[in-house]
Symmetry: C2
């Protein structure tokens, strides 16, 4: 699994995206993150582990509480990959073809 693989895989689950959305508002503890969901805290803890393995979230322990916060870099890479091909999706196909062919020599 490459970094990009892990990032997109982490984003492919609605629970994990909801966690990211909440963390975008600021740091949160694991129990804060878990409370809205209809699943065990262990399950949420596992989702956070997936996010942190992918480097999207960092976890720091203060007392008995773990605080989670977002990490920018890997998600920026995913955004960059998508926006490169966005050129195609928005219709300016020819310029993208030139862009990609340009990389190959």
């Amino acid at each position: 699994m490459t970094q990009l693989d892990q990032t997109f895989a982490a984003l492919s689950d609605g629970t994990r995206r909801a966690i990211i959305e909440k963390l975008a508002l600021g740091e949160a503890s694991l129990s804060d993150l878990a409370s809205p969901f209809d699943m065990s805290q262990t399950a949420v803890s596992k989702h956070v582990r997936v996010l942190s393995d992918a480097g999207l979230v960092s976890v720091t322990k203060r007392g008995r509480t773990r605080y989670c916060s977002l990490q920018a870099a890997p998600m920026k890479d995913a955004t960059d990959w998508l926006t490169t091909y966005q050129t195609f999706w928005t219709g300016s196909f020819e310029s993208l073809a030139r862009h990609i062919e340009g990389k190959e020599h």
Copy 2:
């Protein structure tokens, strides 16, 4: 699985991203897509199936050949999700917090 789940899951595999990169240059047959990879054509066919189930690629049959081409909409949704939170990653946290809180009333 929601549409966004499927889109991100489809993008989480390097082989599938390579297929998308090739299709960004234009339509290609399944055998064209399969040839660069060190795996069976059946495996590549399955990857294309994942992409087409997610709506990222459309397949049309002409004669005995299947031609694949990119579909914009679902990937744009993924890009949109990411760029919403990009506001955070690029550092302008306060404005994102206002943006998200604004959606909730």
